[in-house]
């Protein structure tokens, strides 16, 4: 009885949150999953069970798996696959975008934090500048970046291509988000611009959370500054990197406003999140839209569950 008195109040305090999340998150996920397995492919809501929505998104057998993976990785349309070709292209774009965005933002953020770590004059000034992009709405940022990444050739060039030309580095001019191979990675640039400051802040805190005594001790032992970083500081940053990976990964899969502001709903810049929108609100193919939502959710879970397990376990150990 005394035990319940100990933890009872705690459970009571979080119970509203549990209830709300149960209804508004899991209830809706359940609704979504149910729709994805229904035959609600047009405006009429019906109650039949139908896996055709998933059928269009997955390879039809183990035999197709190789083709499927190849098509997603290279982005080349395949003649033999039975899956929805738009979905393959979306996955390809999502892959490129996610890799570029996550790795790029991590690298830029970590580097900026590294540069600021030892303290520089005007650190507050630099920090505010790097953080500001996050304050600008993606809709507006998308319009500006569409201007900057304009692929117009020759004398019609504007944006960065024009700037490169004027600065004498015209060879850097390229097709940006219309580029056939790396276009989706170019779409990640505005997202990197927006989030690098926040990741920098995360890493900066991580750097500064390392007790100075540890660094001093290593220096006393004769380690060079670089080795101090490598063996003392960087291991401390693992949790920061994981947190950053999760934040960036989930933004990357859900990003919608930015993509639409730059490329509209065209196939050439389409991602799964955009396709989901088109299916639900334009084509009224609710089952397929819901199926994509479910797959996105599962995809993100694959990213986060290891992190969560790691977090909880490492807490138990301390």
């Amino acid at each position: 009885m005394r035990k319940i008195r100990r933890w009872g109040p705690g459970l009571l305090l979080v119970s509203p949150s549990i209830l709300l999340v149960a209804i508004f998150v899991y209830g809706l996920i359940g609704w979504n999953a149910k729709v994805s397995l229904s035959d609600w492919r047009q405006a009429q809501q019906t109650s039949g069970f139908d896996t055709s929505a998933y059928g269009e998104l997955f390879p039809s057998g183990v035999g197709e798996l190789g083709d499927y993976a190849g098509a997603v990785i290279t982005g080349k349309q395949s003649d033999t696959l039975s899956t929805d070709p738009a979905w393959i292209i979306d996955l390809h774009h999502a892959l490129l975008f996610t890799l570029a965005f996550v790795l790029g933002t991590l690298f830029i953020g970590a580097t900026l934090a590294f540069l600021l770590d030892k303290g520089v004059k005007g650190e507050g000034f630099f920090r505010a500048i790097y953080l500001f992009p996050m304050a600008v709405s993606f809709i507006a940022a998308g319009v500006v970046w569409r201007w900057l990444m304009n692929p117009a050739p020759g004398d019609r060039s504007t944006g960065f291509n024009l700037l490169f030309d004027k600065l004498g580095i015209g060879f850097l001019a390229n097709d940006w988000y219309l580029g056939p191979t790396w276009g989706a990675a170019a779409l990640a640039i505005p997202a990197m611009w927006a989030l690098s400051g926040y990741i920098m802040a995360l890493y900066l805190a991580g750097f500064r959370g390392v007790p100075e005594e540890l660094r001093e001790a290593a220096r006393m032992d004769g380690a060079s500054e670089w080795r101090v970083y490598r063996h003392v500081v960087f291991p401390h940053l693992r949790p920061v990197t994981l947190a950053a990976l999760i934040i960036l990964g989930h933004i990357s899969i859900k990003v919608f406003d930015l993509i639409v502001a730059i490329g509209g709903k065209q196939l050439i810049t389409q991602t799964p999140a955009v396709y989901m929108w088109i299916l639900i609100y334009d084509a009224r193919d609710y089952a397929k839209g819901a199926a994509i939502a479910t797959l996105l959710l599962i995809g993100i879970s694959v990213l986060i569950i290891p992190y969560l397990v790691y977090t909880i376990r490492s807490e138990r150990e301390t």
Binding site: F126, V143, W193, D257, M276, I304
Partner: protein, 293 residues
Amino acid sequence: MSSTSVAVDRTVGLRRRKQAQARVVKYAALLFAAVVVLLPVYVLLVASFKGAGEADPSRAWALPQAWTLDAWREAWNGDQYGLFPYLKNSLKLVIPATIISTIVGSLNGFVLSRWRFPGADLVFLFLLFGMFIPYQAVMIPLTQIFIDVDFPEGIPRLAFAHIVYGIPITTLIFRSYYATIPEDLIEAARMDRAGMLRTYWSVVLPISAPAFVVTAIWQFTSIWNDFLFAVFIVTDPASWPVTVALNNTTGSLVTPYNVQMAAALIASLPTLIVYILLGRYFMRGLMAGALKG
């Protein structure tokens, strides 16, 4: 001068020079990064001071031929989509929603890290998973729930949605932060026969400022910049927050880019102010392990 002291002087001088070089390189890199980050902001600013015909993608870099505040005036007060009335709506939305969701997160984080109960970790996982749901897919049933229970229309619905969907991230931040509190502090309170709420009030809350600030900054930014929930949940145009009005500066025939960019800058100012004012606290909050996990 002995040879050793000369040698020492030389090494010291060498190290100082290397440090100076490193510092120059560091500043150069930081400045270069700052310039690159500010390039789009430059384009935004410059376009906002141009007249209706001038603000054009082909003239993105050029300074205005005729500087004018027309776009700013239109963006602030224009009869079509002047942002000013909508700014009030946004503030009425963001301030209560941020305050409530940070408090909820703080209480949750406290319980799940320091006043645990059997299954607390599972509950944490349960709450956290909610972060990753793609919202576009659930707008229809979400709005249906609001209608079915006849929830007060407009901003209250939107605030409620942000509070609920903010539970995962606010709980995460606070839980990570409170995990760094030494156990002896909590134990001391327990020894004094303090119950859960008294412990929270007297031990935990006083040192929570940095975490409150970190959470508040994240929530403020997300709620302020959200478009999806706002456009779906708030049906009465008079109650729209600023992001919907900003989006409406796009016409389907002509987009007045100068007005749109002035509006974007206006819309980003409150968040920027929040960043600057709380920036110092932000760093401390992070330092104390708020987001380290």
